[in-house]
Structures are given as structure tokens and as C-alpha cells.
């Protein structure tokens, strides 16, 4: 038998090239999908995302104002950002807002998902209700809350009527409360999204496993800690990453309600980009801000993804 093997291998070697060629021809004849179909899509991807970002990154190092020609200024824009207190403030606010948003939205979303997961009779209706704001325009929602936070608006009136008049204030006009008021608006709108993602994740805790836990005698807290939470890890990855991206780029609500006021207390990177680029026509500076925002989002999102994915694997 051994004598046959080398011969077979040699034949295989010289045949392989011919076979590969025949396979390629065969594939084409069998109607392998041509890459041409992907061209428009790919072109869009390159043009509108990679190329545009590339050019945008280039602008960040120029002093362009959108009209006359620009010249390379190296890191001057970035140095200005670092020096300018309001730019630093914008960066800080962006992070604060995003951080609070991720934590609150996910906590509330998870709580809602756990509550709605089984046996509650109205759960489909409730799920639709909590998710409704996600589909609405953030701008529209911002205006609704604008009235709630208005000095003569709902929140203060309710506080007054329950005897807490001392807590009344101009929520959006007061630098110490403005940002957090915006946070409330954002959390209200997107908790439903986190809830829906966690509900989908809870499906992976099959009925069987749930019953096994019941028979095994685990208390609700034990069940949650040891089985439900670990199995929710993938959903947590998606939800945390998504909410982080949303939180870092928030724009509509800020533009509608405060536009960075009072005294820059609600200024964020996204707002600044708009302001500097399209209002003050400082394309170069605006691009630099946008570049920082982009870097921030990308780094945070990818890091979070990697960390959470690793957590998933460990489980």
C-alpha cells in the first residue's frame, strides 16, 4: 500500500493547478455572482465614508474657511482646541452626557426588559409604549420636554402643587441643571431601545433553563446573578455600544433646547462642529473638532466592543 502513496501525491500536485483553473472556469459558467453588482454600494461606502473622512481629516490640519484657498497649519487647530476653555468644556460635556446616558438608559432598559419578560398580560402593549419614543424625531421630543422644563411648565407646577416649591428652578436655563435636564430627555427617549435589545437577549434564556432553575431551587436574585446576567452578555455588548455611539453624537435635542447655552453649559462637540463649520465658516477648525469626535467615538466603541466581547467569551 505504501508504494502507491507517493505516486498518488505527485499526481495530485501537478493536477492541482489544472483543477483550480477548471474550477474557476466552472464557477464562472455556473453563474457566480459578479462583483459588478457590489460596485455602486461599495462606491457609496468609499465615497461617503472613507474618502470623506479622509478629506475631512485633511481639512482639520488647514485653516480653510470654505471659500478661498486654504493652507496647511499643522496642529494649530488642535492646539487651539486644547487651549480654548469652551472647547475643552464641550469635550467634557460630551463625555459626561454620553456616560450618564449609557449607564441610565441601560439600567432602566434592563429593568424594564426583566419586568416585561414573562407572564405579564399586557406586555406587548407596554413594550410598544416604551419603544414608541425611539421611533419619533428627537427634535419633536425635545420640544415636549422643553415645556416640561420651562419655568412655568409641568415639572415646576407639579413640584409646586405637592409642596416642593423650593425645588423649582429654570431647569434649562440654569448652568448646573441644564445638561442633566437634557440627559433626562435622552434617557426617556431611548430607554425603550435598550429594553427591546435586552428583551431579545432574554430569549436566550430558554424556558427549559428557567424551569431547571426553578426546580434546582434558585432564588430570583441567584438566578439573575448566575444565569440570566451572563447569558445577557451579548445583548449588553450591543446595547452598550449602540447607546455609547448615540450618546456621543447627540445633536437634535441640544440644538432645539439650549443650543449650547446657558454660558456654554450644554455645549458639546457635535454642537460645536455645527457652529464652527456652518455658522462661523471655520471649516478647518470645525473639521478638527469633528476629527476628535470621530476618534472619540471610534476608539470608545471599538474598545467597548472588544472588552465586552472578551467578557462574553469568558462566559
Amino acid at each position: 500500500m505504501d508504494s502507491f502513496r507517493p505516486v498518488a501525491e505527485a499526481a495530485r500536485g501537478s493536477r492541482s493547478a489544472a483543477v483550480a483553473r477548471a474550477l474557476r472556469l466552472r464557477r464562472r459558467r455556473l453563474g457566480q455572482v459578479p462583483w459588478a453588482l457590489a460596485l455602486p454600494g461599495f462606491a457609496a461606502l468609499v465615497a461617503f465614508h472613507f474618502a470623506a473622512i479622509g478629506f475631512g481629516a485633511y481639512y482639520a490640519f488647514t485653516n480653510w474657511n470654505g471659500l478661498a484657498h486654504s493652507s496647511w497649519v499643522g496642529l494649530r487647530n488642535f492646539r487651539e482646541i486644547v487651549d480654548d476653555a469652551s472647547a475643552r468644556g464641550a469635550l467634557w460635556h460630551t463625555l459626561e452626557l454620553a456616560g450618564g446616558f449609557v449607564v441610565l438608559t441601560n439600567a432602566i432598559g434592563l429593568a424594564l426588559a426583566l419586568g416585561l419578560n414573562r407572564a405579564v398580560k399586557t406586555r406587548h402593549l407596554l413594550r410598544s409604549l416604551f419603544f414608541l419614543p425611539v421611533a419619533l424625531s428627537p427634535l419633536a421630543i425635545a420640544y415636549i420636554w422643553g415645556w416640561i422644563f420651562y419655568y412655568q411648565g409641568a415639572l415646576n407646577r407639579v413640584l409646586g402643587s405637592v409642596g416642593l416649591s423650593s425645588l423649582k428652578r429654570d431647569w434649562l436655563g440654569n448652568p448646573s441643571t441644564a445638561l442633566w435636564s437634557i440627559l433626562v430627555v435622552m434617557v426617556w427617549q431611548f430607554s425603550g431601545l435598550a429594553m427591546v435589545l435586552y428583551l431579545a437577549g432574554l430569549q436566550s434564556v430558554s424556558e427549559d433553563i428557567y424551569e431547571a432553575m426553578l426546580v434546582d431551587g434558585a432564588s430570583p436574585w441567584f438566578r439573575f446573578r448566575k444565569v440570566v446576567l451572563p447569558l445577557l452578555a451579548p445583548a449588553m455588548t450591543v446595547s452598550a455600544t449602540l447607546t455609547l455611539i448615540i450618546g456621543l453624537r447627540v445633536f437634535d435635542q441640544l440644538k432645539a433646547l439650549t443650543d449650547g447655552q446657558p454660558v456654554g453649559a450644554t455645549e458639546t462637540l457635535a454642537l460645536e462642529v455645527y457652529q464652527q463649520t456652518f455658522y462661523l465658516l471655520r471649516f478647518g477648525y470645525g473639521a478638527a473638532l469633528a476629527l476628535i469626535l470621530t476618534a472619540l467615538i471610534t476608539v470608545f466603541a471599538l474598545t467597548q466592543l472588544a472588552l465586552l466581547r472578551r467578557n462574553e467569551q469568558r462566559l
Partner: protein
């Protein structure tokens, strides 16, 4: 189904959740209540419903002229959304078809690039895009906005379709091939119809995103007669500042289409967000 046991604990939980939902919906209730109010400065108790309801605000909001006109904006939003979604579905699905059906490293690389395209934020990209499109005369008109939407949302669309197509068995395409159908006929008559579930999801998801888009629309369409609903609402609210009843009437008009759509498509929308974003 054993765990459908409706114990007392479950009842209490349901009650608590209904209460939470009620409080949660207060802003929406307020929206309707104020929109039907004659003056928003009324000193009634905070949560009362105005009686009799005053529908005049809607008429006033609808007929607001100039940049705050919601009627034109509605038309504009409709045209832009429908066109953008249609283009995205066609081009995106074709692209995904190629990426999903071809094996090998190239298709994997492309897939990763598209996913990256979803994560990368567009704030930076908008600046050079604005410049380029201004050059090409595509700022402030439908064509430009549609093109922009298609470009920006292509990665998401391709991502959604690719996952789905990869899971589709090739049997149908092979049968069509044997029957003598060419590539495009196979795609149009056999493959695309099979993609119906993900098409519905993608259409709803992308449609909502385009409809509600503000930042980009503000930059490209503000001040023109083609501005979309969010931009018009922004102007409207700016014009009628502090006249909350009118502003809310405007807001209601603006979100009415989505509300109506939500009644029909909520399940699709929920599934789109939870399924399409997973993995």
C-alpha cells in the same frame, strides 16, 4: 407553558409596570393636552386636560407661512424618504448579494469595511461632502439630499442584507440557473422576493432614520423650500417661541405620520432594531 403561572407576584409586577408606563407616557399626554389648549399660560393644575378642546391650534400651525410651513415640509420629507429608501433597498441588496454569495477573503474584508462604515460617525465626513456637493450643485435640492442619504446609510443596509442572504439556502438560485434564468432575472424574480422579511425590516429602519434626520438636513436644506419636517419644525418652534400650544400643535402634526406608521409597523420596527443590530 408551565411558567405562564400568574401568581400574585406577577400581578403586582404587572401593576407596577403599568404605573411606570403611565408616568412614562405623561409627556405624550401633555403634548396632546397643551396642543388642544387655548393658551399655554393657563394657571390650571398642571396635568388637567383642557375642556373643551380647542382644535384651532392645528389650523394655525398648518397654515404658518414661510420657513415654518409644515405642509410643504411633509411633502418634502415624503419624497426624500421614499426615494432614499427605494434606492437603498435596490442598490444595497444587490451589493449585499455579491458580498454574501461570493466566498473568500475579499468578501469577508468587504463585510468588515461595511460594518466599520456603520460605526464611523458622519460628522467629520459631512464637511468635505458639503463642499463637494456644493461644487456639484447638489446642495439645497432633492437630488443632493437623496444621494446623501443613500451614501450615508448604505453600510447599514448592506449589513442587514448580507447577514440575511448568507443564511439563505442556495437551492432556489441553483434551480433558477438550471431553468435557464440569467443573473438579473434570477435576482429579481427569485432572490429578491425571498428577501422580503429583511427588506421590510430595512425599509422601516432606514425610513425612520431618514425621516427623523435633522443634523444633515439642517446643513443641506435649511432655508430652502425643500426642507424636511424636522428642519421646518425647528424653524416653526423658533418662530412661535413660548407659544407652547402652537408649538405643540406643530409637533403633533410633525410626528403624526410616524405615529400612524408606528401603529402598523411597530413589530417590524422593534424586530429591526433588536435583530438587525445583533452581531
Amino acid at each position: 407553558m408551565g411558567l405562564a403561572r400568574y401568581s400574585r407576584a406577577t400581578f403586582l409586577r404587572e401593576l407596577a409596570l403599568i404605573l411606570v408606563a403611565a408616568v412614562f407616557c405623561l409627556p405624550l399626554y401633555l403634548l396632546v393636552a397643551i396642543a388642544l389648549d387655548t393658551t399655554a399660560q393657563s394657571f390650571k393644575t398642571p396635568l388637567s386636560f383642557p375642556w373643551p378642546p380647542h382644535f384651532g391650534n392645528f389650523a394655525q400651525a398648518w397654515h404658518a407661512g414661510g420657513l415654518g410651513n409644515l405642509g410643504h415640509a411633509l411633502e418634502s420629507s415624503l419624497i426624500i424618504t421614499v426615494s432614499s429608501v427605494a434606492c437603498l433597498l435596490v442598490l444595497g441588496s444587490l451589493c449585499a448579494y455579491a458580498v454574501a454569495r461570493r466566498q473568500g477573503r475579499l468578501s469577508n474584508v468587504l463585510y468588515v469595511l461595511f460594518v466599520l462604515g456603520i460605526i464611523l460617525p458622519f460628522q467629520l465626513a459631512i464637511i468635505p461632502l458639503y463642499v463637494a456637493m456644493r461644487h456639484l450643485g447638489l446642495v439645497g435640492n432633492y437630488a443632493g439630499m437623496i444621494l446623501l442619504n443613500v451614501g450615508l446609510l448604505m453600510p447599514l443596509t448592506v449589513f442587514l442584507y448580507t447577514g440575511f442572504i448568507r443564511a439563505l439556502p442556495r437551492d432556489y438560485e441553483e434551480a433558477a440557473r438550471v431553468d435557464g434564468a440569467g443573473l438579473l432575472r434570477t435576482y429579481a424574480r427569485v432572490v429578491f422576493p425571498l428577501l422580503w422579511p429583511i427588506t421590510a425590516t430595512a425599509a422601516v429602519l432606514v425610513g425612520i432614520i431618514v425621516w427623523n434626520e435633522f443634523f444633515v438636513a439642517l446643513i443641506f436644506l435649511a432655508g430652502t423650500r425643500y426642507q424636511t419636517l424636522p428642519v421646518a419644525l425647528y424653524n416653526f418652534a423658533g418662530e412661535y417661541v413660548a407659544r407652547w400650544n402652537l408649538v405643540f400643535a406643530g409637533v403633533l402634526i410633525a410626528i403624526a405620520p410616524v405615529l400612524a406608521f408606528y401603529l402598523f409597523a411597530q413589530r417590524q420596527l422593534i424586530r429591526g432594531f433588536s435583530g438587525g443590530v445583533k452581531g
